[in-house]
């Protein structure tokens, strides 16, 4: 259970804040590390899904802020369906394939898209862009 702002915790937050100030002030290395992380280039989304073998399915479930399976494989002409089972809204957007779902939430929690051309298409949630997936389309 994480509860950031209970009364006793409030003091801890303040102490933590002071510690962070000190760290930043004296730790050149810490500073350099965080700035480097901030500079992560935008090309990153390809990395995560590619690490897992693609699963042959046309159904993707969104659960616990993840696309499952994150990497799928379908034949050209297949219609892929995404279903959001989280309470939070999610979406499916891609800069590599012209698809942008509506907000998936409540009764409108599914999105379909037909992949015509072979290739590998990466996508993410437009609201929580750290959520990544990919669709490998074979001939």
């Amino acid at each position: 259970m994480s509860f950031p702002f209970s009364r006793p915790a409030a003091l801890a937050v303040v102490i933590g804040t002071l510690a962070a100030v000190g760290l930043t002030a004296c730790g050149g290395a810490t500073h350099a590390a965080t700035m480097a992380a901030a500079a992560t280039p935008q090309a990153a989304p390809a990395a995560t899904p590619a690490a897992q073998p693609a699963v042959a399915t046309s159904a993707v479930t969104i659960d616990n802020f993840s696309f499952m399976p994150a990497a799928i494989k379908v034949k050209a002409g297949t219609t892929v369906t995404w279903t959001n089972s989280d309470e939070e809204p999610h979406s499916v957007v891609s800069s590599e394939e012209p698809m942008r779902s509506k907000t998936l939430a409540g009764p409108n929690n599914t999105f379909t898209h037909t992949f015509a051309k072979p290739g590998t298409y990466h996508y993410n949630c437009g609201i929580h862009p750290f959520m990544h997936g990919s669709v490998e389309v074979t001939a």
């Binding site: 950031p4 003091l11 901030a38 989304p45 616990n64 802020f65 907000t103 750290f130």
Partner: protein, 314 residues
């Protein structure tokens, strides 16, 4: 200090001195106090003065998520109203109120309209707004800008001068691929905007997503922030105020002080605490402690903003 062990007193003094030395290195000492749920951090700087700046205050509110219906806050309208009431009850009327995004949860016209009407009841000189990613859930911010885009540029960014200080509102919530993103057009605009501002002018920057790498695995950072911050080292005082993470955090990097804001809707976990940044459900009677408003005072002769975070009343 009431300490039974003299060693403790010595350690305390040592750590205090060390802190002050490091704080001097950073450019500003910070005193943080907690009193009745109010967290205050005062900048205790005795360095170069800002002769043109006047004493005034403004208010930041953030992350209202109108339209959210989950267990973490069954009535986000009520808590947003409570935040507005708290601002309206402040002894000193703020010069302006800025909402740093996630006005709505689903970016519908009805939600934008409701937020706009509620914001219009604020007792202040002007209401300023910037978008969060929840304000463009199914478009690239077009609906948001129909309601709040007047007088802004690009995706909704803007800047202004106010009583000796310069303010910039950035939009880093459009076309996201992992982290927050400013984009080359906005960066070029920012570089040109700051060129005409004198280095001794206090600079205050608003964004929704943090401009520092708070927890990149959850998208809590901005991929091209280093370019934006690279325009700012010459300024004596830079304060960046953001929302998005639904919790208070302060970070100092060189001449820049970052403050993340409390939400008016619901808390999120600390970065990496659990599998995802899901809304945190707390006992109903304690929810108000996780929500709040922020006052910022700019004082003449001081080198930065004095920030006061205040939780919502029960």
């Amino acid at each position: 200090m009431n300490s039974a062990n003299p060693d403790d007193a010595f350690k305390h003094e040592l750590s205090r001195r060390r802190f002050l030395r490091h704080a001097a290195w950073a450019g500003a000492a910070v005193a943080v106090t907690v009193s009745g749920g109010v967290v205050t951090s005062n900048v205790l700087h005795h360095g170069s003065s800002t002769p043109n700046a006047e004493d005034f205050s403004f208010v930041q509110i953030s992350d209202s998520h109108i339209g959210f219906t989950g267990a973490a806050n069954p009535d986000v309208t009520k808590t947003f109203q409570s935040a507005i009431d708290l601002v309206n009850a402040l002894p000193a009327r703020p010069d302006f109120v800025v909402h740093t995004g996630d006005l709505t949860h689903f970016s519908t016209n009805e939600q934008f309209d409701q937020v706009k009407q509620m914001l219009s009841t604020l007792r202040t000189g002007q209401v300023l707004v910037l978008p969060g990613e929840h304000d463009s859930t199914d478009d690239t911010g077009e609906k948001y800008r129909q309601f709040f885009g007047a007088g802004t540029q690009g995706d909704g960014w803007f800047s202004f001068d106010h009583r000796g200080a310069h303010f910039v509102a950035l939009v880093n919530t459009i076309n996201l691929q992992k982290l927050g993103h400013l984009g080359p057009e906005q960066l070029a605009w920012l570089e040109g905007d700051l060129k005409r501002v004198k280095s001794e002018t206090p600079l205050v920057v608003f964004s929704h997503i943090p401009l520092f790498a708070m927890y990149p695995d959850w998208g809590w950072g901005t991929d091209d922030a280093t370019t934006a911050l690279g325009y700012m080292p010459r300024f004596g005082s830079v304060t960046v105020l953001n929302g998005h993470v639904h919790q208070l955090m302060k970070k100092v990097e060189g001449n820049i002080t970052f403050h993340t804001a409390a939400p008016t809707a619901y808390p999120l976990p600390h970065g990496g605490d659990g599998p995802a940044p899901k809304p945190v459900v707390v006992p109903a009677a304690q929810l108000h402690q996780a929500l709040g408003i922020r006052q910022a005072h700019l004082l003449p002769g001081r080198h930065g903003l004095a920030i006061t975070d205040q939780e919502l009343p029960s």
